[in-house]
């Protein structure tokens, strides 16, 4: 981490209101996440975790304030640029069913490279490395439905990391896994993110996992007023 690099995430004066639906208001006066940091966000369901992730990924826009990712305010980008920015700099892993059912494992990973407009050949080479690390080489041409949930989540890690993103967002990716798979998954994900110097933002209600991370925050801190750093 070079000192002149902007932080991975900088939230400033952020307000979010779902208006009609949803759990209510997010208020974050200032919040910083450094490059390469790993952050654990916890909180009960309905506390606004997923909303925060949507804001960070640029899928939702705040009512007020700015979301700076890698020094660039994504709220001021044109929608098309914002989507491309997400494709290139942010990897996303969901709780489960991360994969498109009608594409095989390799296609599911390569689609991320397609949307990031990266060179197919170098992405394919990188995907190969990822699959090898994850022990998934034999499954490249299988459909997601032929894989176990643990395997599916590993493919999701590969998909999220194939574009060399600076930020990885994971929304309860282990909640559908048993404890053995959970440990394997956490190790794979964190080790591979560290290799790539990727900032990890991990959301879960399972505080047993927080020991893996540099920082922990309760999402409820953001639903009231107050600066969090």
């Amino acid at each position: 981490m070079e000192p002149q690099q902007p932080p991975a995430v900088r939230l400033d004066g952020l307000r979010f209101d779902w208006k009609k639906r949803g759990p209510g208001l997010l208020e974050i006066d200032e919040f910083l996440i450094g490059r390469g940091e790993t952050l654990f966000l916890y909180g009960p369901s309905g506390s606004g975790k997923t909303t925060l992730l949507n804001l960070l990924a640029g899928v939702l826009l705040p009512t007020q304030g700015s979301v700076e990712i890698l020094g660039r305010d994504i709220t001021r980008m044109r929608p098309f640029r914002r989507d491309l920015f997400r494709a290139r700099h942010i990897g996303v892993i969901f709780q489960q069913l991360n994969l498109i059912p009608y594409l095989d494992v390799l296609e599911n990973v390569m689609i991320a490279s397609h949307f990031a407009k990266l060179d197919t050949q170098s992405s394919a080479a990188h995907a190969d490395e990822l699959f090898e690390t994850l022990g998934m080489q034999e499954h490249l041409h299988k459909r997601p439905t032929e894989l176990s949930i643990g395997q599916q989540q590993r493919v999701a890690v590969a998909r999220a990391l194939v574009t060399h993103p600076e930020i990885l967002i994971a929304d309860e990716p282990t909640s559908a896994l048993d404890s053995d798979n959970r440990e394997v998954f956490m190790q794979h994900m964190l080790q591979m993110a560290a290799q790539n110097d990727t900032t990890v933002i991990f959301v879960s209600h399972d505080r047993g996992l927080q020991e893996h991370f540099d920082r922990h925050h309760d999402v409820r801190e953001f639903t009231g007023k107050g600066a969090v750093t």
């Binding site: 992730l53 990924a57 989507d83």
Partner: protein, 418 residues
Amino acid sequence: MILKLARKSLWNRRGTAILTLVSLAISVALILGINHLRHQAKQSFTSTISGTDLIVGARSGSTNLLLYSVFRIGNATNNISWESYQTISKSREIAWTIPLSLGDSHRGFRVLGTDHNYFEHYRYGVRRGLVFTRGSPFEGVYESVLGAQVARELGYQIGDEIVIAHGLGDVSFSQHDDKPFTVVGILEPTGTPVDRTVHVRLEGIEAIHLGWQHGARIPGRGMSAEEALQRELQPEAITAFLVGLKSRMATFRLQRAINEYRKEALTAILPGVALAELWDVLGMVENMLIVVAFLVLLATLVGMTTTLLSSMKERQRELAILRAVGAHAGYLFALIEIEALLLALLGVALGILLLTVSLYMLQPWLASEYGLFISANPLNSEALWISAGVLLLAALLSLIPSVVAYRRALADGLSVRT
């Protein structure tokens, strides 16, 4: 990439996709088929007779004259005297005339008395003349030439003898059985009323009516066939006649002259105009058919839209994943549109194929059974416009699911409401 996604996504839902495709193909085949048949029917109908410049008959409406002289439907109100026929035929502008004498029948088929000019000058379709499958034109008074359908349905061969019945009933009690006619020629199918006609010489018609009066045999005045030949067989009247002119420029002048003919009340009509008028009346039915076909198509497309729309729920996850990896909301919109267009395009292609194959298979049957000559190629510029219209309509209707995908992509973000 987006095409590949659309293709694979459709294939993933192939059960419903194939059903949608089949219904689309059927309705496209239906609408194109009706349009095709309409064109073919109109073409075949309006070219039932061609090359004839005027049809002349006793004064009546033009449709009536057309119906009995060309289609052999209904009866003439009156006859034309032989004298008038001769006078008019001698006009300088006239190249040829074909006399028509109707009124008798053979087992349900009309008998037409005419002369050699009929085989020489009668035209239908695009200047197609009458061709003999077997035999040759009649020479003798008691010889006849059969239309294709007459010969086929009644199983007649060259050399067979037929008896003409007086009047038009299928089972007539007054048969001209003392003067049978020998079949000397059989015509090729034309798809026109010629196929259902028994042709004999005018003199033949005259001969069988010698010794008859008011539609009944006069007792004791019967005359044998040989005796009849010795008599003057020039007819006193004919039903109508067809006129070919040396120059079409004279058409309207001659038409007026005939309509104003002093010695007898006559009507001359232009066959093309009269046929078009008659078709306009029949055209109502054709328009109804097109409307029905269009409604079927619309229902199918609405069905397709409904299918796409209801699939949006199960595809929420898929769309959220695409959003997460960086797909623009517009990309999802385009994806759904392309899926619909892909379906519609396949539907149109399959529909055209279905129609062409069915036409190809039905063609020989229609030709032999109904004398309908239908081209197996339904593709004309209008069919292409209709196909383009189907695609456009599909694109428009699938805007609904596409917009749903777009809006959901923006509102739901990466979360999936389950």
